[in-house]
Structures are given as structure tokens and as C-alpha cells.
């Protein structure tokens, strides 16, 4: 597992039923592209997060496949519909097999 991977997600605490909300996510990860070389000239192997998904109560919101051209600390901003109260689940899949998860509750009100 890569070091110091910390997901951060910004979701409003509550929304009106059927409202569209903006979600911002950031995960700290150095996203080694596989293009860089170390001091001895050896290529540093690629190590990135290759997929990010967001689901709400089991229904998919967005599914992103990432390539090495995504910046360090991958950031995503997107919009989601909130049909009812429930839980947003965010999942990041690392090249090394690690899976990072974060979830946020949202209330209707």
C-alpha cells in the first residue's frame, strides 16, 4: 500500500429530495507515472490509482478509469442526484491492489 493515502470528500450534510449536489473528492497519492527516472537513471515503476467510483445507495454515480496522466493527489468534482436519504460510497483502486474507501451520509431536509 502506498504511504499516507488519505481520501478527502466534500458532500453537503443534507439536500432536498431529487436535488443535484456537487461532490468534490481528493485523495493524497503520489501517482507515480512510470515516466520518471531516479538519480541513477533507473525508471521509477508506475504506481497510480487506476479507478475511482462513486455510488449512492448501491446505484452508480460516476466511474472513472485513470491513466498516469492524472495529477498527483487525484481530484474529481462532479454532480450527483439525491433521490432519498442515504450514503455515498467512494472507492479508489490502487495499482498495487489496495482499495481505499470513504463514505458520507446525506439527509433529506
Amino acid at each position: 500500500m502506498a504511504k499516507d493515502v488519505k481520501p478527502r470528500v466534500k458532500v453537503p450534510k443534507s439536500a432536498a429530495a431529487g436535488e443535484a449536489i456537487t461532490i468534490k473528492t481528493l485523495i493524497s497519492h503520489n501517482m507515480e507515472s512510470g515516466q520518471r527516472k531516479d538519480k541513477e537513471g533507473n525508471a521509477i515503476p508506475r504506481s497510480i490509482i487506476n479507478r475511482f467510483t462513486c455510488d449512492f445507495n448501491g446505484e452508480n454515480v460516476i466511474d472513472v478509469a485513470m491513466e498516469p496522466a492524472i495529477s498527483t493527489n487525484p481530484y474529481f468534482e462532479f454532480e450527483a442526484l439525491v433521490p432519498e436519504a442515504g450514503e455515498f460510497k467512494f472507492t479508489w483502486y490502487d495499482d498495487d491492489g489496495s482499495v481505499y474507501e470513504e463514505s458520507k451520509m446525506i439527509a433529506i431536509g
Binding site: V64, I70, E77
Partner: protein, 138 residues
């Protein structure tokens, strides 16, 4: 036509010109596009790509894609060593087919967004980004 020295030079230059044009879109980029579209024709239409005209730091260039009817949007940076950037698939609960992220660019180049619309057709938009410091490390 008689093959004189002059003719040979003209023909050679012509061949270089013809061969040189497709090189602008790298082979890897073409492959990625073909894999996504399955060889279908790409038109213009309901896709918008927002990127800065000048990016001082190629390590983190903010981009934004949006469309009203896209099911999937693929972003390519054709001037990078590997052209793929990201592929966004919008699910049932996506309120808008819109997403923003930050990407790496190796140098000044065209960034292309290709969207697969709900009706199965493909559209694309591109933006040229001038990069002052490249983002792929030496």
C-alpha cells in the same frame, strides 16, 4: 514522367509531407481513439472541454468536460508519452454529465475529449494548452 534529379526531390518532399501529416496524432493516440470508438466516425457536437490556454505547470492542469447526453467521455493528451488521461462513465445518479479533474501534460499540445453519446454516436472537442514547464519529469 522522366525521373530527373529535380523530380526525385519534389517527389521525395511530397512523400515526406504526406507521411508527416498523420504523425501529428501519435499512433498510440490513434489506437486509443479506435479502441474507444470501434472505428466509428467522430463528429462535432454535444461535448465541451474546458482547459486553460496557458498552463504554467504541466504537473497539474485543471480541465473540465461536460455534455448533456454523453454516456462516457474519454480524455486524451496526444502529446504525452502515453496519450490516455481518463475515461468518465456516468451512472444513473449522475445529475449532470460533467466532471473536472487535474491532469499532467508533458508539453504544449492538444487535449482531446471524445464523448460517446446516449444514441451511440461519437463527438469530440479539443483544446490547445501551452505548457511552460512539462509535467512528466526527465
Amino acid at each position: 514522367m522522366e525521373l530527373t534529379r529535380r523530380n526525385a526531390i519534389v517527389m521525395g518532399a511530397g512523400a515526406l509531407f504526406v507521411a508527416g501529416l498523420p504523425l501529428r496524432v501519435s499512433a498510440a493516440g490513434e489506437d486509443a481513439i479506435a479502441a474507444f470508438t470501434g472505428g466509428a466516425e467522430i463528429g462535432a457536437g454535444d461535448i465541451k472541454l474546458t482547459a486553460p490556454e496557458i498552463a504554467e505547470n504541466g504537473n497539474t492542469v485543471p480541465i473540465e468536460v461536460s455534455s448533456d447526453t454523453a454516456a462516457e467521455i474519454m480524455v486524451l493528451a496526444l502529446g504525452n508519452p502515453t496519450p490516455g488521461v481518463a475515461k468518465f462513465k456516468f451512472g444513473k445518479l449522475a445529475a449532470a454529465r460533467h466532471a473536472s479533474t487535474r491532469i499532467r501534460l508533458a508539453g504544449t499540445q492538444d487535449v482531446v475529449a471524445i464523448a460517446k453519446l446516449d444514441d451511440g454516436s461519437f463527438v469530440q472537442a479539443s483544446a490547445t494548452v501551452k505548457v511552460t514547464i512539462g509535467g512528466c519529469g526527465g
